[in-house]
């Protein structure tokens, strides 16, 4: 495969075979070498073969091998010619990140660090098979699917500002619970308010470094301030929605012309394409509500530990979604369908989708690090319009398989190493901890520097963990 360097950190794989457009990879030289180690590039190329794809199939610096579409990928489709694909969103629909700010300082957490980790671990269900204590009737659950976090806030689990500072105000209006199968509802109804496992986490962090004081001030953040990050998604409900529609689309449209069966899709303007989008939106609302409920419990528990604590939502954004958005295509404004799988929307100042209080400076972009490493707060910038359909990275991206990670270290060692760095970790599974060890991921600092230099999002602050609850 021929990879041509276009300019610093921009590489192109020219059209060949079934590709309708070229593939573009944004990466530093080192990161590109890491990306070449697995099937990522092949997967980015496969996506370029899908009908109606616009401009290019894009791989971001955190790209790694996924299933069908790679992770860390962006693909935009024309509404008339194009397709929508559940595999281009991922099974964990609206897996995403929420950042909370507190009025606490790093010192206050360090004083009772172990108490904090124990209390949050007890309160927030994490891991596999740990269900939620939050019980809802099916009728209420349907409301949650259609109204998202707004609904549970109205029921008393938060304040209005929480949803105002959430992508889509915590509710994708296109959601239709009627498009979600009974099986999906059955899988999801007992899982609202749970983190799940894998790379999902809840972290108490502090602002370690501020790169842009003015912007940080708009987001209400300053050095040493304690923040809380929640990383989770739509759990079994989203997984089942994806599976259901993959099977339906396969039945209707087949997979004969596709380079990989997982790329199954439907025309955007088809009944099935529309049904999937409305079901996906319902799963997205579940994920917003999920993060909202966890926020409520975090507030309760922190209030118990720190009676004067005040906790506000900075922002909440997904990184596994398909969205209809207006972009400039060949000089004209056009609505297109942007698939972001392991990619974060990164909108520049002025976009109407950004909460009013932030609109002047741009949309907050939340990048979770791997366990024990830094996470970042960035802000969307105009360059993302030109380069990546208003998108940026979603994390560091894995570089080592789970199997390799297990061979290198035991969970106990990982815990001890983090303890020496003043980070307290608690997880339901020691093995799970080893699989998620910091060395299994790319260097988040380098990944973030690439997008900052490219200008598709700009660094605002670096956040470092003090307490980690691992799924």
């Amino acid at each position: 495969m021929k990879i041509k360097k276009i300019s610093k950190s921009i590489y192109e794989i020219q059209k060949e075979g079934c590709m309708n457009v070229p593939a573009i990879i944004y990466a530093s030289e080192d990161i590109l070498e890491q990306i070449k180690q697995d099937k990522t590039l092949e997967q980015v190329k496969n996506v370029a073969c899908l009908p109606g794809i616009i401009k290019a199939s894009i791989g971001l610096p955190d790209a790694h091998q996924g299933y069908g579409f790679s992770i860390g990928g962006v693909a935009a489709f024309d509404l008339d010619e194009g397709i929508i694909s559940p595999g281009g969103v991922g099974y964990d629909i609206n897996c995403g990140v929420r950042l909370l700010k507190t009025n606490l300082s790093k010192k206050e957490i360090l004083k009772i660090q172990e108490k904090v980790v124990e209390a949050l671990f007890r309160k927030i269900p994490s891991g596999v098979g740990r269900g939620s204590k939050f019980q809802v009737t099916k009728r209420e659950f349907t409301k949650i699917l259609e109204e998202g976090s707004k609904y549970i806030i109205e029921k008393g689990y938060g304040v209005k500002e929480d949803y105002l500072n959430t992508e889509e105000e915590g509710c994708m209006k296109e959601a239709d619970a009627g498009k979600v199968s009974e099986r999906a509802i059955k899988r999801g109804i007992g899982q609202l308010g749970t983190l799940g496992a894998g790379n999902h986490f809840l972290e108490v962090q502090y602002v370690d470094e501020v790169y842009d004081e003015k912007a940080a001030d708009v987001f209400g953040l300053k050095k040493e301030q304690v923040v809380i990050m929640i990383h989770c998604g739509s759990r079994g409900l989203g997984h089942q929605v994806a599976s259901d529609y993959i099977k339906e689309m396969e039945k209707k449209y087949g997979f004969k012309n596709l380079p990989d069966r997982e790329l199954i899709c439907a025309p955007i303007k088809s009944k099935l394409g529309e049904d999937y989008f409305e079901a996906m939106a319902a799963a997205a609302n579940f994920a917003f509500a999920n993060r909202q409920l966890i926020t409520h419990w975090v507030r309760e528990e922190m209030k118990f530990l720190f009676p004067n604590v005040k906790i506000d939502v900075v922002y909440d954004i997904g990184h596994n979604l398909a969205k209809f958005e207006e972009h400039i295509i060949e000089g004209k404004e056009k609505t297109i369908c942007v698939h972001r799988k392991g990619a974060t929307r990164s909108f520049w100042p002025g976009r109407k989708e950004i909460p009013e209080n932030y609109r002047k400076i741009g949309q907050p972009v939340l990048i979770p690090g791997s366990m024990g490493t830094a996470s970042y707060l960035l802000v969307g910038s105009k360059k993302a319009e030109e380069l990546s359909f208003g998108s940026t990275v979603h994390g560091a991206g894995r570089v080592m398989s789970r199997h390799q990670a297990l061979k290198q270290k035991k969970g106990e060692e990982v815990k001890e190493e983090l303890h020496k760095k003043n980070i307290e970790v608690k997880s339901g599974s020691m093995k799970g901890l080893a699989e998620e060890m910091p060395g299994a991921y790319k260097d988040i600092d380098e990944v973030v520097n690439v997008v900052d230099e490219l200008g598709i999002s700009k660094k605002i602050a670096r956040l470092k963990p003090l307490v980690v609850i691992k799924g």
């Binding site: 180690q37 099974y91 799940g196 396969e250 069966r261 398989s401 339901g428 599974s429």
Partner: protein
Amino acid sequence: MVNKKFKFLPHTADIKFQAFGKSLEEVFENSALAMFNSMHEGKIKETKILNIKIDGNDFENLLYNFLEELLFLFDTEGFFLSKIKNIKIDKNKMTLEAEISGDNAEQYEIHIDVKAVTYNDIFVKKENDKWVAQIVLDV
């Protein structure tokens, strides 16, 4: 090893495996065992028995549906698979019937959340006299 039931293949983030069998039934059985083995490696007690029926439109789709049903039972009933007691596949009708045994998942340390079965790089085929299936699980 001659009689290996399954083997895990390298994958950066997800779980990829191949399962083997002398018959189609056996390769399905071993695929299910591989999936649960990726979540927990130890021995699983047989405290519950369930009967399931699956249909599909080709071998890959049937396997996908079979594994997905097991994940569904895991998520909704906390059923962790121990053994496939009886399994019958009708190749013409493309249907599967199985009696499965397992235990309550809460009894075990499960280190991975298998979110879904995927179609990525999937195949079910007969090579010489042996059946081989390949699956990528999203975790």
